[in-house]
């Protein structure tokens, strides 16, 4: 009974306090202490993990190979066409002096994933780089396959990353080359499916198209740089006023070993956006789940 009451007290106190509160501080301090141990254990247990992973990978390898060959052919043709378009796009950008926020404005910090939440409600991973490496709350996290998530808590030598499949994360995104933007949110309990919502009803979306971060230009700024691949469209749902689209994440979120945190120097635009999102009141902060930084972005306040 005493332990149940104690749990409830902890729960109430933790839920009620701001992200900078005492209990959050205790958690961060604990992470600082255990992160080297966890990192060591993670490296020691990697062969075991790889062994289990090898069985699963072998089962899917043949099908994936055929699929990738087909995809490769399509992509090769697209690359040729895109290169010509890219050249003209660059010229247009320089002509119109568009205030575009690109990945080049960020400083990528490579980090190793050493912990992952087993819970279907918390799609989080813990990485081995923290504030000492320049990582800050709300920094975008990517890997070679696409967008992974964003940093939500930082200790000196570790940080917690909410994956894009976490219920508290929302990312402003667009489909392929269209200008229509929406918000990508997870379908709770399904780590393989995301939902791109609030697309205009008349927007043209086809299965297999890539969904990328919109990284919208001023005034609707986003925490994420534009053009980072989030996933591929698997189906389109017709709704009354808006259209929503099921998206399969491109990044294999089940098997994250190395990721990159897109950190930004103090005073830069990404940094200001991150600070603005982090300074929201507890109930409205991205971690609080009520309003995400991206939702804020979509209102035009930046985030």
């Amino acid at each position: 009974m005493l332990l149940v009451v104690l749990s409830l007290l902890l729960l109430t106190a933790y839920f009620g306090e701001a992200p900078g509160g005492r209990l959050h501080g205790v958690q961060r301090a604990f992470l600082t202490v255990v992160s080297p141990i966890q990192d060591g254990a993670n490296k020691a247990l990697k062969p075991v993990r790889d062994l289990f992973g090898w069985f699963g990978d072998a089962l899917h390898a043949k099908g994936q190979r055929d699929q990738l060959r087909r995809q490769n052919d399509i992509l090769r043709r697209e690359v040729v066409a895109d290169q010509a378009e890219k050249r003209s796009y660059r010229q247009l950008i320089s002509l119109y002096h568009l205030d575009q926020l690109g990945v080049n404005d960020y400083h990528p910090v490579t980090a190793t994933v050493f912990g992952k939440s087993p819970n279907i409600w918390y799609s989080t991973v813990t990485i081995d780089k923290g504030s000492s490496a320049g990582v800050r709350v709300n920094d975008p996290v990517i890997n070679g396959e696409g967008l992974v998530g964003k940093v939500v808590q930082v200790a000196s030598d570790g940080a917690q990353v909410d994956l894009i499949t976490d219920s508290s994360v929302g990312v402003s995104a667009r489909v392929g080359t269209s200008n229509a933007t929406g918000i990508v949110q997870p379908k709770a309990g399904d780590p393989n499916d995301l939902l791109l919502q609030y697309l205009p009803a008349n927007s043209q979306v086809n299965n297999g198209e890539y969904v990328v971060t919109s990284g919208t230009v001023s005034p609707d700024d986003s925490l994420y740089p534009p053009g980072i691949v989030i996933g591929q469209v698997t189906s389109v749902n017709e709704e009354s006023a808006y259209r929503s689209v099921n998206v399969h994440p491109t990044a294999n979120l089940h098997n994250l070993d190395v990721v990159q945190v897109l950190t930004s120097g103090a005073g830069t635009r990404p940094s200001n956006l991150s600070r603005l999102a982090a300074s929201l009141p507890a109930g409205q902060s991205p971690a609080g789940g009520a309003v995400t930084g991206e939702q804020l972005a979509s209102t035009g306040s930046g985030g």
Binding site: L3, V4, L6, L10, L31, F114, A188, G189, D190, N192
Partner: protein, 191 residues
């Protein structure tokens, strides 16, 4: 289990908890089976309760839950609450019924996993998680219980083997064993 738990038992439970939580985070959570991850921490709590009784079950559940919440930076107290209830319930099951069937660990593991997943989901809803919920959630819970049930027997063997030497002899269980081997009578009374 009668009386206070011995120091050796507490040390073994604590060591097992740390190893299992780190193994869960470092390995088990990284290996999806049927699209879900097994969660061996509620199984550990349930089996500690089943072997050691309600007091140590509840205390172990609270400690393991707290360790999970601290390590994964989750809402502090949430896992502790769910795991305390699981540990206590499994301990009471042992104290009141003392089930001896071979399938008991399997059923207890499945029940503990179901309570953990459903309890967690309910708590998350009560805390106001802002996400669209689909039938997929139900599928994930069911698959999670199935996968946990598959790993319940090996986990039971590991927990029992780890704690075996430190578990004190239970007088009631001893009586039952004697009754089984002597047909209900002690060798003295038979003669």
């Amino acid at each position: 289990m009668s009386g206070a738990p011995s120091g050796a038992l507490l040390v073994r439970v604590a060591a097992l908890a740390v190893v299992v939580v780190f193994f869960q985070i470092g390995v088990v959570s990284e290996v999806p089976v049927f699209g879900v991850n097994a969660d061996i921490s509620p199984l550990l709590v349930a089996f500690v309760g089943l072997l050691c009784g309600s007091m140590l079950g509840a205390a172990g559940g609270f400690a393991v839950g707290l360790l999970v919440d601290l390590t994964l930076l989750q809402t502090l107290g949430l896992t502790s609450l769910v795991f305390t209830l699981i540990g206590y319930s499994c301990g009471r099951l042992r104290e009141l019924r003392d089930p001896q069937a071979a399938l008991t660990p399997l059923l207890v593991g499945a029940s503990a996993s179901a309570v953990s997943l459903v309890g967690y989901s309910l708590m998350e809803f009560m805390l106001g998680v802002d996400a669209p919920v689909s039938f997929e959630l139900l599928r994930q819970i069911v698959l999670g219980v199935v996968v946990n049930t598959i790993v319940a027997l090996p986990m039971w063997a590991i927990v029992r083997r780890s704690l075996e030497g430190a578990l004190p002899e239970d007088p009631r269980r001893r009586r039952r064993r004697r009754a089984y081997t002597t047909g209900g009578l002690s060798p003295l009374s038979r003669s």
